[in-house]
């Protein structure tokens, strides 16, 4: 049907500026506001995301940092519209892509955004790829489904994409199956699929967690190169403070489903404005430090069906004060331009005086 459409649509190699002409280059591509997600289970309602807001500009890298169960992956699924419903429901909030509200779009219209405008890279490439189809078929699927390309054309595009993500001998390997590739190569195939329709945003959910460090470095470098090439916005979801420090422009820290600190990367590492961030940075061993003492955060992250009252971090916080931290949910205070912290004592945390109390 869409022979002409295939020609006008973004394909690898065509400069992106031509395609996106007419759009304000610095306008927000993604604006998430007050997002709430809950899971209704037999054991009660788990409030996985409780009022998360952030935005993203073209070419920017936003890292969403959090431990397991902090709601970072659920946030990504809600943005993509791939939340399992039931049990998961978006109860409040808005997700706008270049001004278009995605959450209220009918499913059919939403499919036009998924993969074409926003696409996603998952953590475990082996279980995310279908073991009974060749990788070329799976990459080509994007072109066949969204662009109505023929099998032959789709395969040609798949080879181009495999070249673009630096898979050696792409032409010979296009018919291979996922199990024939190494972990790093499989993750590159995932990236190729995400990249296929030249989206404006890529959400990478723990893209390197399962990989070895030397391969992790390769994959992160690839993502960075691709981002420069095509000015995509990148949302990097991870728990690794090291990876974040290397690539993120700004960082959103999540804890128990809430966004607790939002800051440019340099500020966050230099002077954290939330005790959780501060403690977390003191708790990780660094390869370039000798004789470092590790400070622990007592306790464990809370169960999302029973989030503590007041500030969710108060049972673990060394600086918590009664009654305010136990009773009042801290709002996101503006710390400085582009920087916010959800702590009653953000000022004291920021200047370090909280440690002396």
């Amino acid at each position: 049907m869409s022979h002409t459409e295939t020609n006008t649509n973004p394909v690898p190699g065509i400069p992106v500026d031509d395609v996106r002409a007419g759009e304000d280059p610095n306008a927000l591509v993604l604006d998430v506001e007050n997002l709430h997600v809950e899971f209704r289970t037999r054991d009660g309602v788990a409030k996985a995301v409780n009022g998360v807001s952030f935005d993203l500009r073209p070419g920017e890298t936003l890292a969403i940092l959090g431990e397991s169960g902090s709601g970072k992956s659920v946030t990504a699924q809600a943005i993509m519209g791939i939340l399992d419903t039931p049990p998961g429901y978006v109860t409040q909030g808005s997700v706008r892509f270049r001004g278009t509200e995605l959450l209220t779009l009918p499913e059919k219209a939403r499919r036009r955004y998924r993969g074409e405008k926003i696409s996603m890279i998952f953590q475990d490439a082996l279980s995310s790829l279908n073991p009974v189809y060749s990788v070329g078929f799976q990459i080509g699927e994007m072109f066949r489904v969204h662009r109505g390309a023929s099998r032959g054309d789709a395969k040609k595009k798949a080879i181009e994409l495999m070249d673009r993500v630096h898979i050696p001998a792409a032409h010979d390997r296009v018919n291979d199956f996922p199990h024939q590739f190494s972990g790093g190569m499989r993750q590159r195939i995932m990236i190729a699929i995400a990249l296929a329709l030249d989206p404006e945003i890529i959400i990478a959910d723990e893209p390197t967690t399962a990989l070895d460090v030397t391969v992790q470095a390769q994959v992160m470098q690839l993502l960075a190169d691709l981002q420069v090439e095509s000015k995509m916005g990148l949302i990097l979801i991870t728990h690794d403070l090291g990876v974040v420090a290397d690539v993120a422009d700004k960082i959103a820290v999540m804890y128990a489903g809430s966004l607790i600190e939002n800051a440019p990367a340099l500020d966050l590492y230099g002077s954290p404005a939330h005790p959780y961030t501060e403690r977390l940075l003191a708790a990780i061993p660094r390869v370039d430090l000798k004789g470092q003492e590790l400070y622990t955060i007592k306790g464990i992250p809370p169960n999302l069906t029973h989030i503590p009252t007041g500030c969710a971090f108060h049972p673990r916080c060394p600086y918590a004060q009664r009654p305010i931290c136990v009773e009042q949910v801290p709002s996101l205070h503006d710390v400085s331009e582009g920087r916010r912290s959800a702590c009653h004592f953000w000022k004291e945390t920021l200047d370090g005086s909280i440690k002396n109390r």
Binding site: T214, V287, G291, I297, K298, I300
Partner: protein, 343 residues
């Protein structure tokens, strides 16, 4: 962490080899090759110290752990425990030795039996080694162990699923401690844990070492954790140790290209270093241990490769002008990380 080093190592490994046969055919099996998981490694462990074993997945770290525990029988080589070779032991003699070498496994979810209570899990070693604890005192000993690892002694009747990942790892550690072993082999003990919980468990390992004079073989892929906890480090690649030395020698003066690449790839949580770090980007993946490259096994990914590397396998020796062994024909110091001393 380096405690007083006596001259005699409590554990010494010489030329340890483990090949897993690859067979073909169903009825008439014939061997067509072997996965050379561990291919001749030597190491020494002294009392009260922590020896780190680092490398990427598939390099043979975990196989080494299983061999040290004698869960597998090595194809060749010696494992000397207090001078006695345990590599070929079996039956009663092996059981007696195992009491002194225990293991803490990586995944706290699959390494604890979900149908047993915590009390039964920790007391199971006592059922096998009955002489360690008389029956009447076992409950008390289990409760003491729970307290030592920082768990509530009243939780003795709970099941593993009622605990978080960090707590489960503590249960695994309590089980490892039960027989008062001299050596604990830790196979990636913190890699499945959340960052905020990881530090708790690392500190626990350090506390227990001081308290009981334990020696650890600490296997991990996280070089930051290893630097923090280990006094000596061996770097493995495809079944071989490529470089070994104390913490300072490996981290501040690495000489093997693989060690250098590995160190340079570790992300540092400090955005001010972005773009200022010496990053070595390796190409490709680790080759298959069933068919390792000839000569130096790292040559297919190495930037220093010359003709000799394909022919001559480099020995793990101290090269001229250097202070620790490195298995590279062109061993040379390259500082990839800028070390700062704190505290």
């Amino acid at each position: 962490m380096a405690a007083s080093r006596t001259d005699e190592p409590i554990l010494e490994v010489r030329g340890l080899v483990e090949h897993f046969p690859l067979t073909k055919g169903i009825l008439f099996k014939k061997q067509v090759g072997a996965v050379r998981a561990v291919d001749g490694i030597d190491m020494k462990l002294y009392k009260g110290e922590t020896l780190g074993l680092v490398g990427e997945s598939g390099c043979g770290k975990s196989t080494t752990a299983r061999l040290l525990m004698r869960l597998d029988k090595p194809t060749a080589g010696q494992i000397l425990f207090h001078g006695e070779d345990i590599a070929q032991l079996s039956g009663k003699a092996l059981k007696a030795v195992r009491r002194n070498i225990q293991i803490v496994l990586q995944d706290p979810y699959s390494s604890l039996n979900p149908r047993m209570t915590v009390g039964d899990i920790i007391a199971e070693p006592f059922q096998i080694h009955k002489d360690v604890a008389p029956k009447g005192s076992r409950r008390k000993m289990v409760q003491d162990l729970l307290e030592v690892v920082g768990l509530n002694p009243e939780h003795i009747h709970r099941y593993p699923h009622q605990f978080s990942g960090g707590q489960r790892q503590r249960i695994g550690i309590a089980r490892g401690l039960a027989l008062r072993p001299e050596i604990i082999v830790c196979d990636e003990p913190v890699s499945a844990l959340d960052v905020s919980v990881q530090a708790q468990v690392i500190n626990l390992f350090e506390k227990l070492q001081k308290e009981f004079g334990l020696s650890y073989v600490f296997i991990a892929h996280d070089l930051s954790v290893v630097r923090h906890i280990c006094s000596r480090v061996s770097v493995m690649y495809l079944g071989k140790i490529v470089e070994t030395g104390d913490e300072e020698q490996i981290y501040e003066r690495p000489t093997h290209p693989y060690t250098q690449a590995l160190l340079s790839a570790v992300p540092v949580p400090d955005p001010t270093l972005r773009g200022h770090r010496d990053q070595i980007m390796l190409e490709g993946d680790v080759p298959s241990p069933a068919n390792p490259p000839s000569g130096c096994r790292f040559r297919t990914r190495c930037w220093k490769v010359q003709d000799i590397c394909a022919v001559d396998e480099p020995e793990l020796i101290v090269h001229e002008g250097l202070d620790h062994p490195s298995a590279c024909h062109f061993a040379d110091i390259r500082r990839v990380i800028e070390t700062h001393v704190v505290g």
